[in-house]
């Protein structure tokens, strides 16, 4: 499994301050080969700073970025595909020429670069715009070109800052597919996003960052397992207070026959079902895990820095 070990991207204890403002405090996480890692956090939490440090466009005050166990260098950075938060391309340069140029700056020879540009512009649906200046494209298409710019040099790591912002639903699907495909090829993929449903759906693992520090980092299932479990019961004849007798259960809300209950540790969900059936017919009885959005709200609003590790 040496190949896998080589493809692991590690951020180890990275710190950064801007004057008196602490931007990152001992930021640590890792992304394995073939893993889609979602990076979430409020605005200003430090996601962009972390990514910029990983790309070397910003110098860290402390800590290390490693790839395959070795500190990342100028040469190995060339293997990263990067999409900066502030999108940027030469506005007056033609799409095709620009992508070839960027691919060549990443070390591809002219022939390979051209072939790769053809391939990616076709895959991302902007092949017909190759001879147009970037500034003549719609914002959505510029975004696709920006993604192509991150991919044309066949990167071994992908670091994408808010790749989904500003995309229409079709483009979101295209982008999701590309990220999943790259991960399937064994590439570690890190991306930040505020669209938490998307992160929940796509990512193998999620890191939640608050005030420059990683406060939760695990698989979506594991993060949810740590949270509260809710039951949703739809019993049309149920009166308020129908579940009061069941131990370890708190009714969060009841609207008509529909009740949402929080299940404490050790509470028996079957006892809840029996109580519900006692009121009459039960149309729905489901266990609902905490969504990433709820989890995120809880984690970010808590005052203690460490919630889970």
């Amino acid at each position: 499994m040496t190949v896998v070990a080589q493809r692991r991207l590690e951020i180890v204890g990275v710190s950064k301050r801007y004057g008196d403002v602490v931007a990152l405090r001992e930021m640590t996480f890792e992304v394995g080969a073939g893993e889609l890692f979602g990076f979430v956090g409020s605005n200003g939490a430090g996601k962009t700073t972390t990514m910029r440090i990983a790309l070397g466009v910003l110098a860290a005050d402390g800590g290390e970025v490693r790839w395959g166990g070795e500190p990342i260098t100028l040469e190995t950075r060339r293997h990263i595909g990067y999409m900066p938060e502030e999108r940027g391309l030469y506005p007056k340069m033609k799409v095709g020429e620009q992508l070839v140029y960027l691919a060549r700056l990443h070390g591809l020879d002219a022939v390979t670069a051209r072939r790769s540009v053809e391939e990616w512009t076709e895959r991302l649906g902007v092949a017909s715009r190759r001879d147009d200046e970037v500034q003549k494209l719609s914002l959505g298409n510029q975004q696709r070109v920006q993604l192509a710019a991150a991919l044309v040099h066949n990167p071994s790591i992908l670091v994408l800052d808010e790749p989904f912002s500003g995309l229409d639903p079709v483009a979101v699907d295209v982008m999701s597919k590309v990220l999943q495909d790259k991960a399937a090829e064994g590439v570690p993929v890190v991306f930040s996003s505020h669209q938490l449903e998307l992160v929940e759906r796509l990512c193998h693992r999620v890191g939640i960052v608050r005030s420059g520090h990683m406060v939760a980092c695990d698989t979506v299932e594991a993060l949810q397992a740590g949270g509260t479990v809710r039951l949703v019961v739809d019993a049309p004849n149920a009166q308020p207070g129908w579940a009061d007798g069941v131990p370890g259960v708190v009714v969060e809300e009841q609207f008509g026959g529909r009740t949402v209950l929080e299940l404490r540790d050790g509470a028996d969900d079957q006892a809840v079902l029996r109580a519900a059936l006692a009121t009459g017919p039960v149309l729905e009885f489901s266990r609902r895990r905490q969504s990433l959005t709820e989890l995120f709200r809880n984690v970010v609003s808590e005052h203690t820095p460490e919630v889970a590790a």
């Binding site: 060339r78 900066p84 502030e86 030469y90 700056l105």
Partner: protein
């Protein structure tokens, strides 16, 4: 399976790629091509105008009847006054017609004992003073004859009597053509530094304002981006200068307007190119660093004006002082100072009379300055280029690690 491509790249390979993009972009720019073409056309046009002016005479005068004897004295009088007057004998009636239709400026008539001029309406001031001098000489000769003197001998004695000047330092004999070439060299180098220097500054800000700089710097180092940009635009500027200088030289030599030696003419163009390169690299490094401080094209002018003032000041001093006073002491001193040398030295070199040690010293001083500028500009650029938004203070850019 994803295979990792071989992306090892030499330090200068990235610089070459950046420079290549600059060259391609510049050569495709219509504004650049138009400026170059217009400059070449203007220079050739100027040569042709000079040719026409040079070939013609100041005035055309006919002599008729007894005045025919005045043909030679009029020519020599005009010459001593620095005028070229075309004089030829004509039949009086035909001459009057020619004055009327404008093919003659004036016609001398009468018996030749005094000057009687037929003109259409009025007489040109310069021609009039030549004729007045001739009339005076004629009267003098007549008086000498009356006194039984020999007018020819006296004229010769008068002509030979001149003030003897003893210069302590032998002056350099400036050639009129070289003075003109010096002025043209001044205009060209000024234009070229201005246009290409500003292109560097605008290019830096374009990358900053479009944010593409973050994508680029994730791959290459700041110095590679800056060096590539300066080299690329410099190469294009060099080609432009060679083309303009070459066309101008060929036009001047082909039309016969340039009569100075070929080696002097070629030397002027070579020095022009050398000084363009030196001046361009020195100034554009400064422009690139200062432009990195701002994020919007509107702010470029503000930051590059201070160094630009030295280019403008050098040019203005040179073009206003040198043509009338090519050996001016102030200009001589300033042309050794690296800030002014790129504009003043090529003008002086074209005009001639620059001692070898001065030419060499000026080059050495600028060459010595360039590594310092590379270090300083590289530092400012590196620290400022990723900071977008408000203008970065120069001291902050210098201090930040």
């Amino acid at each position: 399976m994803n295979t990792t491509p071989d992306v090892r790249m030499g330090k200068w390979e990235a610089v070459g790629l950046v420079a290549g993009r600059e060259v391609k972009t510049r050569l495709k720019s219509k504004a650049f091509l138009a400026t170059t073409a217009v400059t070449i056309v203007l220079l050739i046009g100027f040569t042709l105008v000079m040719k026409l002016v040079q070939g013609g005479s100041d005035a055309s005068v006919g002599v008729a009847g007894g005045s025919t004897a005045l043909e030679a004295p009029l020519k020599s009088t005009a010459e001593t006054l620095g005028q070229t007057i075309d004089v030829h004998p004509v039949d009086e009636a035909a001459g009057r017609r020619q004055v009327d239709d404008g093919s003659l400026d004036a016609l001398l008539v009468g018996d030749g004992s005094k000057i009687v001029v037929v003109v259409k309406k009025d007489i040109d001031g310069k021609l009039r003073s030549a004729l007045d001098v001739l009339a005076g000489r004629l009267a003098l000769n007549q008086e000498i004859v009356k006194l039984n003197g020999d007018p020819a001998a006296i004229s010769q004695a008068v002509a030979e009597a001149k003030a003897v000047v003893e210069p302590l330092e032998p002056p350099f004999d400036y050639n009129g053509q070289q003075l003109v070439m010096g002025m043209i060299a001044g205009v060209l180098i000024y234009m070229s530094l201005l246009i290409n220097g500003q292109s560097v500054a605008q290019g830096v800000v374009e990358e900053k304002s479009s944010r593409v700089v973050e994508l680029l710097l994730a791959t290459i180092q700041p110095w590679q981006l800056m060096a590539g940009k300066v080299l690329g635009i410099g190469v294009v500027g060099l080609v432009q200068m060679v083309a303009i200088g070459g066309f101008g030289l060929v036009a001047g030599l082909a039309t016969g307007v340039l009569t100075i030696s070929l080696s002097a003419a070629v030397g002027t163009v070579v020095w022009l190119i050398v000084w363009f390169l030196l001046g361009f690299f020195a100034y554009s490094l400064v422009f690139a660093a200062l432009a990195a401080l701002v994020s919007r094209q509107e702010d470029v002018g503000g930051v590059i004006t201070p160094p630009l003032m030295f280019v403008i000041l050098g040019y203005v001093l040179g073009i206003s002082i040198l043509p009338s006073d090519p050996g001016n002491h102030l200009v001589e001193v300033l042309s050794l100072v690296p800030l002014f040398a790129p504009t003043l030295m090529p003008m002086r070199m074209a005009m001639g009379g620059v001692p070898v040690w001065e030419a060499g010293l000026a080059v050495v001083l600028v060459l010595a300055l360039i590594p310092a500028l590379v270090w300083l500009s590289g530092r400012i650029y590196r620290n400022a280029v990723m900071r977008s938004g408000a203008k970065v203070k120069l001291v902050d850019a210098l201090r930040a690690a």
